[in-house]
Symmetry: C2
Subunit: 440 residues, 2 copies
């Protein structure tokens, strides 16, 4: 029998519902794993075992009392430490926020609690969710990076320390750690999940994402977070698909458009060969395609938007306490200040035509298939790895999923699927099909 | 009896409905006035009298046939020459577009035609609706500017050459010519009127506005243009007030907050004295107020946004044919390219807090009252005058109206009222009350 802490969230929910185990049992199993592995993996920025157990016991009491239960009832969730939590510190991976306790839950955390989730602790983020590497190590090989910026969330889920976690993506901060750590990850459409209470780096890009151990896990947690936020101009109204619905629906086998993307020249040979084997194995179901101009400029567009918007959100606070910021982020800020407004507006305006071209492609295919990273997790800790296969999709605001189905040089590598904005439910159905096809 | 071409649009509509005069009679009166005055005022970029008369006769035939009539039936309207018209050229005041015929109506022009309006001709715009002065002269004194960029629309309505006209405002291009030419003008809320088919200079600022000879005229034409445009992220959905409704409603006498605004130090002594007499005359109905920080930086914020967005819209086309652009606009483009993206994003983000402060003020008052310009129309043609009392409101996207009720040095000066975004109907009711109070 699988250890409680190694179950998928969907499996654990069934075990808790059956009464075979309690939320406290599940939390103890997770905490035991942390106790054994934390010296090596270092995934947590804050973890108070007594608080976590008390929260789990409260969930059990709620269940025993016969109260209504949410879909995440009793499931532990790790929260990236740039997302506010009422009962835990929120330090944003930065000395600028050392010891900060805001005393309130971010909207997404409140929704998790409402769905019954037990907030286990805060997971390590790189400094201000930027590129300065963190203390966290890749659980598959501690000589390698877990990626960033959602380093702790990716590593903790991969290492069976927690079944579910939240991350955020501005460049590649959800999908890349998902690929590097060999787990399932989803960056939803921009506007699916409220960002209130999440450290803002770029309003055009920042997206709350989720980690789990199966496509069903991603759907389960993302569905609890999908809601319109009237205070966020990027949140979308209108119909919201039920991401969990129709798990056994009779979707015809999907067709995929393989895109090398302009990041392809940066990919390692092993990663290229691995993804091309997937494409070949899918035979007629996956076709090499391309997108017209100005798609080839998309990497620059993303970098321009990310840099420009960092200035008002981070500039003043780093200037006020430069001793509390790394040289790396100060250098990035200095470079960002040189971006011209004209280039930035041009980059924003280019999204429309590129999204139109992508939508036309996705009228003919069910999803785009592409690499999620240039290769497996890099050796050493000089960088968190390249986000070049992620920023382009973050820029477009489209939903992305990575499936842990490849291996290169003994390390995990994902397969990334990309859908139309707002069609997160369809993307998850395609992902479930492909995940099974690839042996999941 | 008032000559046909001197009637307000609202009066002319009644005359046409009664059968006392035809649309052709009205158009002939307007064309006669143009024939007499065009050498002096030079308000038209394109005017084909036979085409205008044919369009008027078509309106008369439509009426005689007993067909349904729109609220603007038979009324001549002048269209600023940056707005596309199917049957007339659209030259954008620039050699870059000399002779351009797009063969299609802008959305707002199509809506005017659907409401029964007779498009009379295209009115002069400054070069690309920017600051390079045009050939048009102020009808009150030909040694003075008519303002800009909607120079021809403002001058033609003031000179009784046409009862109604469209303009556009990015800085102060609707309200300032309204004030300088001594007529009623309205820049609606950003998002009230579709911009499709209008030359884009700044998506954050560009707003289609209207000219008339009374507040009722403004309501009449603006109401025909108010519609949601799903292709424009700045167009707003939800409830749209009927701007014409309740002309005799029992609105209690409104209360006004007088704001000097950060532009006040630039105002001429005569203008300051004139507006302060209005404030004093309103006694308890108008109170000196102020807005907190960051309102004092609003002039810079507007200038930053206007410059930054000009780059992608105008940069490439001016670079491609620099001989077809003035030195003035080339110098503005060069300066705009030096604006940093960080400053631009900061300027965009500052709108929210300032609009919140303004909304709080307008919870206690019905409208803001302020100067519409630094003084009357400037002497000579070196500039179109300062837009410093307008850009701040364009930046906030709030509705503005100017009433031609002041005179300084023998030239007209308006009184500007400003409301909450989307509350154009309430602003027009306040404007009608004040217009009567000031002798309209």
């Amino acid at each position: 029998m699988t250890a409680l802490n190694e179950l998928t969230a969907s499996e654990a929910a069934l075990v808790l519902a059956s009464g075979e185990a309690s939320a406290e049992d599940l939390m103890r199993a997770c905490l035991d794993r942390v106790a054994k592995r934390d010296d090596t993996v270092r995934a947590w920025a804050f973890l108070d075992p007594e608080l976590a157990l008390a929260n789990a016991r409260a969930a059990d009491a709620h269940r025993r009392a016969g109260n209504a239960l949410g879909p995440l009832h009793g499931l532990p969730v790790g929260i990236k430490d740039i997302i506010e939590t009422a009962d835990m510190p929120t330090e944003n991976g930065s000395d600028l926020f050392r010891g900060q306790r805001t005393g309130r839950d971010a909207d997404c955390v409140a929704r998790l609690r409402n769905a019954g989730a037990v907030i286990m602790g805060k997971t390590v983020t790189t400094e201000l969710a930027n590129t300065n590497p963190s203390k966290t190590r890749n659980p598959h090989n501690q000589e390698h990076s877990p990626g960033g910026s959602s380093a702790g969330s990716g590593a903790a889920v991969a290492d069976f320390q927690v079944p579910l976690a939240l991350g955020t993506q501005t460049g590649g901060s959800v999908i890349r750690p998902g690929s590097f750590n060999g787990i399932h990850a989803m960056k939803p459409s921009l506007g699916l999940v409220p960002r209130e209470g999440v450290l803002m780096q770029s309003h055009t890009l920042d997206t709350v994402g989720v980690y789990g151990r199966s496509v069903e896990d991603l759907a389960l947690i993302a569905n609890s977070l999908s809601v319109f936020d009237s205070t966020d101009a990027f949140s979308y109204g209108g119909r919201r698909p039920d991401l969990v619905a129709s798990p056994e629906d009779d979707l015809p086998a999907p067709r995929f458009a393989f895109l090398e993307t302009p990041a392809w020249p940066e990919a390692e040979a092993g990663a290229r060969e691995a993804i091309e084997r997937v494409v070949a194995g899918l035979e007629g179901r996956c076709v090499h395609e391309s997108l017209p101009s100005p798609f080839e400029r998309i990497l620059d567009y993303h970098a321009t938007v990310m840099a420009a918007e960092m200035v008002p959100y981070y500039g003043a606070m780093i200037d006020a306490s430069p001793d509390k910021a790394s040289d790396l982020i100060k250098a990035r800020l200095a470079a960002a200040r040189k971006v011209s407004a004209g280039d930035y507006v041009e980059a924003l305006l280019a999204r429309g035509p590129i999204n139109d071209d992508l939508a036309s492609l996705l009228d003919r295919y069910d999803a785009v298939l592409c690499l999620p990273a240039t290769g497996p997790a890099p050796h050493g800790f000089a960088t968190t790895g390249s986000a070049i296969f992620n920023g382009l999709w973050t820029y477009l605001g489209v939903p992305c999923v990575t499936l842990p189905r490849l291996s290169v040089d003994g390390l995990p590598l994902g397969v990334q699927l990309v859908g139309k904005p707002g069609e997160d439910g369809k993307l998850l159905r395609c992902a479930r099909w492909l995940d099974r096809e690839l042996g999941g």
